[in-house]
Homo-oligomer: 208 residues x 4
């Protein structure tokens, strides 16, 4: 969405491969994504993909990275909408993350659910960039600590645990493992509310 479609219809085959792979990922799932299917879908030979990507893993790494950058953009936007209030901002970030996951289920799978030992090593440079996503949470948290709304021992740790809650929420929803009698919306709202409440400064101990 940021730097993708440069227009030259036939020229940027690399771009088309990525876009097609992304679409197939959503339609068919990670397991059923194959080089040939991608190639067929764009009308090129499977061999051609190897001109632009060393391997299937390399292609996936690129897709993961693009997903991370897309998520980053959306998180940034959500953060920017609430520059003043860290609680509101954190809530917006949480909501944004969950929505991203539910709207891009297969993206989500390769981004957060693939076991790294089952793939070639994710390139460190990309890894570093993806870390900004967590930093956005950490920043909101930090400001909340500063203005004494939140009380946590270690910002980095708590940012991670908040993220873990969201990740669990998305994962269970995507895997269809939440009790059918529970409305997804209610589930998400409650998860986010509790995650944030868990960070709040506990009141002056009225009666320990």
């Amino acid at each position: 969405m940021s730097a993708s479609s440069n227009g030259s219809e036939n020229g940027d085959l690399r771009r088309r491969i990525l876009d097609t792979a992304r679409h197939l990922l959503v339609q068919e799932g990670y397991q059923d994504l194959s080089m040939r299917k991608i190639a067929d879908a764009i009308g090129y030979s499977a061999t051609s993909i190897y001109l632009y990507f060393d391997s299937k893993d390399a292609l996936l790494h690129t897709l993961i990275h693009e997903g991370m950058m897309q998520l980053r953009d959306q998180l940034r936007e959500a953060a920017a909408a609430h520059p003043e209030d860290p609680v509101c901002r954190l809530r917006a970030l949480c909501r944004c993350f969950v929505e991203f996951g539910l709207e891009n289920p297969e993206y989500y799978e390769i981004m957060f659910q693939l076991r790294p030992e089952r793939m070639e090593r994710y390139p460190p440079e990309k890894y570093r960039q993806a870390r900004e996503n967590l930093d956005l949470f950490a920043n909101a948290l930090e400001e909340g600590v500063e203005d004494e709304t939140f009380a946590v021992d270690d910002i980095r740790v708590s940012a991670s645990t908040v993220w873990a809650s969201l990740h669990g929420t998305v994962s269970l929803l995507l895997a269809d493992r939440v009790d059918v009698r529970i409305e997804p919306e209610t589930f998400i709202d409650t998860a986010i509310r509790q995650a944030i409440r868990g960070l709040r400064r506990t009141p002056a101990p009225s009666a320990p």
Copy 2:
């Protein structure tokens, strides 16, 4: 009386298949687990597995069920250790769940991370039994609500969100996706503490 349980001989191979499958699962993951690999690992022909399981899915269902029952036993035990205090009990349950996940990564993936649409339907009877695990959380929560420690809108929903937090925690740890600079123990403690704190009755509104 004639051919059912003569003790060792019969169940032996079946047991070895299950154990081997379980071990391979953690090395190779669900996607790359194959009947042949299991067979090779135990030195039998692939055909032999079909003497004990109708299909790959049936084998996995058995594994899932075993994991669920093992988790249930451990959760029960944890709950039984704190019959009085629901908060302590809930904390023990949380800890127990996380420990189970980290100690049984081979079970964890198939128990909680598999997308159901990629497998045959899990047998309803087994499904029902597995539900007790969540119920143990819900019970602790309910008692906490009754004695006014916790304040939640809907017990079933909040039990699920607590579970989601734990699930996210375990998933990220297993997938090696937590910042290396964070001690796993710290991460887990924080996650559990915040999850429980998120349930607590907010103090008498001193300042809305």
Copy 3:
């Protein structure tokens, strides 16, 4: 039907195997008939079949033979109903053969459509017995020649060609290869009528 059900419910396993195999043959087709399916259907182990039959081929030979004997009985009956008129008798035999084929399609396949080189040698003794079926046609033909209704060069040859016509008729019907716009009944009637007409003495040459 002649000497099959002797009553002793459990005793005659051999009989049950044959009956079950026959039923499965009709339901599943020759290709999908397997020893295990037979065994499962009667609740015995697959191994047990080998107590009564040396091999799958041997079992099939027995089935073929039974089919032949069943067909023979029906043909005999048809022949006996028209002891006087050879034309009527031949027509009845033809009709009987076609009906047998259509009513026992999978029987028909193993009886008349299996290429012998793809099976163990059919036992000569059984082969000889099966020949009576053709003889019934030959007899009717012979009498028709004697009373000057039919005119053929060699009775054995013409009996075979009549049979070939019927076989072709049944085969095409079973393989669903007759134009859908043609009524099967019409097709059969015409086939039989023409087969018989083809045997008839051509009239004294009025003007050749």
Copy 4:
């Protein structure tokens, strides 16, 4: 222009696959024809076949079509040799059909003996083209009816029954089910003669 028909290289293997499959068909029969066997016979990997055919059924459809077209050509030629006399033409067509069957047993089974429910649907376009074979018989028959040599109720039906006779004749011969004491040539001649005689106008009823 670039990669379609450069003459030999491309179609070469495809041709060899078809020929090999054809030959194996007669040795092994449809049931036992496998992609691997074809591949082994030509010294290629089984995978390679899939470069030229989408599936086993697609390969067989191609073979069937080739057989049909070859038969059509031969039937056309036979018909063209007797433009005047419908009886002679029909006789030539019959002889041609039988000869085709005996000379191409590998084609014959898949063309006329396969149960369609055991294969993917034969492509309608090819089906339509194959229909011309029967039409050539029907045309001869029709002209024979017009010049009052033949007398039949329905041309389409009688063309089918003639065909059925020939089919039965070929099938029995190929399956080695004709009495060994009968000369194949005699058998064929008789079959054809009787089939045609069966169509002839019966004489003015001298004595019903």
